[in-house]
Amino acid sequence: MQADDICFLSISKAAKLLSDKEVSPVELVSAHLERIGETDGRLNSFITLLEDESMAAARAAEADIVSGGYRGPLHGIPIGLKDLFYTRGVRTTVGSKIMGDFVPDEDATVTQRLNEAGAILMGKLQMHEFALGATSANPHYGPAHNPWDTERITGGSSGGSGSSVASGQCMGALGSDTGGSVRIPAALCGIVGLKPTFGRVGRFGVFPFSWSLDTVGPMCRTVRDVALMLNVIAGHDPRDPSSSRRPPEDFTATLEQGIDGTRIGIPREFFFDVLDSEVADAVSRAAGVLEGLGASVEEVAVPMAAQSVPISQGVILPEGAEVHLDNLRRRAEEFDPVVRTRLETGVLSTATQYLKAQRARTWFNQQMTRVMEGVDVLLTPTAPIGAPKIGDEMAAVGDGREPVLTLLSRLTRPFNLCGVPAVTLPCGFTSAGLPIGLQLAGRPFDEATVLRLAHAYEQATEWHERRPPL
């Protein structure tokens, strides 16, 4: 097998080869380091590359597996972490200059769980500074570049997670999602990304952006791989006050059960109002594919969706501002100017503004719960457009132009507000060759249904098999 082919194996296929001892972790990690060496000059996916550490971990995994100590599907698998997950002894910058020398003395809960599962950390990945943006055009570490067109953004804030997985530098990665930061880069880079239910994955050791919205999610090239990573990271985290006590489940268990009779709702209002026509067409075709596989599809009304932007901004900015208040007072010049402005705007919010937004969020959630009583899943585009050019602040959509940040997060934010699981997966390409993402959102803690639908669509199409032209 060619090194490049090894790098584009799915985790589930690589795991079979590893457990059968047909491929060794050392071969796998060596091939990925070679791939990173060939491509990262163009992509800039990594803030910190752990070349020696990953090879040492690969040798240890190889020894474990040879001696009969195979731990499971992530054992020996090369992964990356967005640079806001604490890694003991490894620099964790959160994409900032301010935390450029920060070395945590303990692991995040998810880091620890991935370590215990035997996953091999290749490095810490690019991100928008402090996760406060959707482009990953980072002024301190350089912009992350989209593997499908390196002049374009990856999306963000988990941009390096998107580019590293799409380009075969890692088999899987973790991102965090507050308003779409897993799903936006996954959609723009042509991979699968899941924002689990709020509370499903523990957040101890994850540098916060917005406490009441932050969610950790896996990003991989297949739905099954996302389920495999979720199996490892999900479950109660006693050090995270928002962590759910629901018992862990096997998210791969129902993937093959088919989707006959599953009810899909399509909210045309808001979700299809400001949209590139190629994206609208691809998503409509995807709905047709799912209908052909046995799901029922109906239009649903979501009149509250238009309130998602003011509610989201009203919650995120004050919470983010409180996280960073001390540095805003003492080191404001060291922030990305746009991030600084957003945070200072949050500082200048009043307590009643914040609580109004949190009350409106309750209202929004009540409305969404009623919509979800009639369907199992909502189907929407993930991002309204393909990846914009690096540096563009405005993007063309339909007959107009919109600010990139608000446009990219327009269709993902609503599902953060109600905390439900939402997955994106590739459903086509624009005429410029840029990936288009399909978003499926379900009921709270029903990741299984969302993933089952996504898997059924993926198996019926070939979008996930395409590789970027690097």
Partner: protein, 68 residues
């Protein structure tokens, strides 16, 4: 559902300066120029939420004394 019209909120440079003072932020005149339109946009968002009927709706903030 929307309820009765409310006064549109607004804020001046002095108003922003006062809020910044309370928060311990030192803002130059240049920063005030940058922030004034952003804060006004945030107020417009707030006004949009003021028009919702949120009677008997509590904020989505829960405190659990025993951490259960």
């Amino acid at each position: 559902m929307e309820v009765g019209k409310v006064a549109e909120p607004n804020i001046s440079r002095d108003g922003i300066r006062a809020l910044a003072d309370m928060a311990g932020l030192e803002l130059t005149e240049d920063r005030l120029d940058v922030l004034l339109p952003e804060v006004r946009k945030a107020l417009e968002s707030r006004a949009q939420l003021d028009r919702l009927d949120l009677e008997n709706v509590e904020p989505a903030v829960v405190f659990e004394p025993a951490g259960e």
